[in-house]
């Protein structure tokens, strides 16, 4: 190790730290060795801004009078989970309003962050502790006791690209897939993406401070479906969906520039989440990992037109981002689903916050799970 996280934080406090965005660092990496980079640069900011379905928020609305355990809870007609303690609920991004399916939990979250009033309706059986059976209230984010986002699976380390060989248009979370392999979509911020800059998860871990939706948050745990055993290419990058993180952050500090509700046609609602992770450049190895380029990151192309989604090919992100790939002698139009320009914006904001001393780097409290397999459901 060339320098510790503590030493880097001291430099940040003294305004002496060299902080670069992932984009800037990669430019420099073309001219300098990992060893030189690790001596010259202290922090590199990475980010992603894309649709992340496993997102939602815990909210405590405050007690009604007389008190009530909100058992069945809805927010603007969207069901929230109330099977926890009185006055708490969890609103998930993909829960839809049955009367208007293009409005879901993601929209409730965005509306709350935007400062709009949201209608809470709750019902309960009524008990001695909590006698009230019905409540209707108008809720604003500033009035609730707590509201924190807790997302169980975010910032996927790579994801398979999608196409559709069938004869009909498919409406998927990978966008509209036109028949006859009419297009190819992919979802990543590629070389800017946090977990692709730390392929073995050696720098980040539980407790790592992050940017989430504009607020300061943390990595809480590995994410669901966290899979470290994915096949890797010669650069050590997993060839498709691999590691994930679960993240937490204060909803009251978020802003709608970095949290946006979405509706994918005939699929449902989801939430675009902006996540930024700063990496302390503590060694040449870390610098080498942070030097990864789109051409080094490969993913598989899956055919959504067939039931088991077979792999139709393997491509790197420089190819996918060029707007066209070639498969079996034919050219296919490619399209992104994750915003690179927003990811870049987050890299820049995080860089500024660190430079201003608002955001210090953290050492993980504990590493993320390693050697983690993925189990299939045992169906009866």
């Amino acid at each position: 190790m060339i320098k510790s996280v503590d030493e880097i934080n001291q430099k940040i406090k003294k305004k002496e730290a060299v902080i670069l965005t992932a984009g800037e660092f990669k430019e420099l990496a073309g001219k300098k060795s990992p060893d030189e980079l690790s001596r010259k640069v202290d922090v590199v900011t990475t980010a992603t801004f894309g649709p992340m379905c496993s997102s939602g928020a815990f909210i405590n609305f405050g007690h009604s009078s007389p008190p009530m355990r909100y058992e069945k809870v809805s927010l603007n007609g969207v069901a929230a989970y109330g099977g926890i303690a009185a006055a708490d609920a969890y609103i998930g991004a993909t829960e839809e309003n049955p009367a208007s399916i293009e409005y879901g939990g993601a929209h409730v979250i965005e509306d709350l962050i935007a400062g709009k009033t949201v209608k809470l309706t709750a019902s309960a059986k009524g008990t001695d502790c909590y006698p009230r059976k019905e409540t209707v209230a108008e809720v604003r984010l500033e009035d609730v006791n707590e509201a924190f986002m807790f997302n169980s699976r975010n910032a996927y380390q790579n994801y398979a690209a999608a196409t559709n060989s069938s004869a009909r248009t498919m409406y998927t979370y990978m966008g509209t897939l036109l028949p006859g392999n009419g297009n190819v979509t992919y979802s990543t911020s590629g070389e800017l993406s946090p977990l692709l800059n730390d392929p073995q998860l050696k720098s980040i871990g539980i407790g790592t401070g992050i940017f989430i939706g504009g607020a300061h948050g943390y990595i809480a745990w590995n994410g669901t479906q966290h899979f470290t055993g994915k096949e890797r290419n010669s650069k050590g990058i997993p060839l498709g969906p691999a590691a994930t993180i679960s993240v937490i952050g204060n909803l009251k500090k978020m802003n709608t520039n970095f949290i946006r509700a979405a509706y994918y046609e005939k699929y449902g609602t989801t939430l675009f989440v902006g996540i930024g992770i700063p990496f302390p450049v503590t060694s040449a190895e870390v610098a080498k990992n942070l030097s990864v380029r789109n051409m080094d990151i490969e993913t598989v192309l899956q055919d959504y037109g067939q039931p088991d989604r077979p792999v139709a090919g393997k491509f790197n992100y420089a190819q996918l981002m060029s707007g066209e790939i070639e498969l079996a002698g034919r050219a296919f139009q490619t399209a992104p689903l994750s915003s690179i320009s927003k990811a870049r914006e987050i890299c820049n904001i995080l860089k500024e916050r660190i430079a201003d001393g608002e955001f210090l780097l953290s050492e993980p409290v504990s590493p993320l799970a390693q050697n983690k397999k993925m189990n299939k459901l045992k169906m009866v």
């Binding site: 801004f49 894309g50 649709p51 293009e102 966008g175 509209t176 897939l177 036109l178 297009n183 979509t185 946006r260 509700a261 979405a262 509706y263 994918y264 046609e265 989801t270 675009f272 707007g323 139009q333 399209a335 992104p336 689903l337 994750s338 915003s339 690179i340 320009s341 927003k342 870049r344």
Partner: protein, 133 residues
């Protein structure tokens, strides 16, 4: 000059070879990009008109005299650029090149390349396109 127009045909005008007459009476080049017209029912057409400014004006007058609604395509489709997050999902379904990511990973909308297929209206996850097709 060369512009793309969205034309709406009334049912009764389908008896007349409108486009044929348009070409004969002006010096315009007419490139039909997309059409959906039934005899006696009417319909729409997306055309590229190229020629001198005066010829284009003359052509549009000719069409309007026949109760064909004529609008620049850009007048018929709108994109709320301020709310756009530049995810690029709309570019997956746009084959006319009206929607494309530029070198800086921002969405570039060129309405004049639009052929009014309407696929972007559904493909945009934030529903930022609106049309009068």
């Amino acid at each position: 000059m060369k512009n793309t127009y969205y034309l709406m045909f009334q049912p009764r005008i389908t008896n007349e070879p409108v486009i044929s007459n348009l070409i004969r009476q002006t010096t315009l080049e007419v490139n039909i990009l997309r059409a959906g017209i039934d005899a006696h029912k009417g319909g729409f057409m997306v055309v590229e008109l190229s020629g001198m400014h005066d010829s284009v004006e003359q052509g549009i007058r000719f069409l309007r005299q026949r109760q064909v609604e004529v609008d620049r395509i850009s007048f018929r489709i709108a994109h709320d650029a301020d709310s756009c997050v530049h995810c690029g999902a709309c570019t997956a379904v746009c084959f006319s090149g009206a929607l494309a990511m530029n070198g800086d990973s921002h969405l570039k909308f060129s309405p004049d390349k639009c052929i009014a297929c309407g696929l972007c209206l559904k493909a945009c996850p934030m529903k930022l396109f609106s049309s009068r097709f």
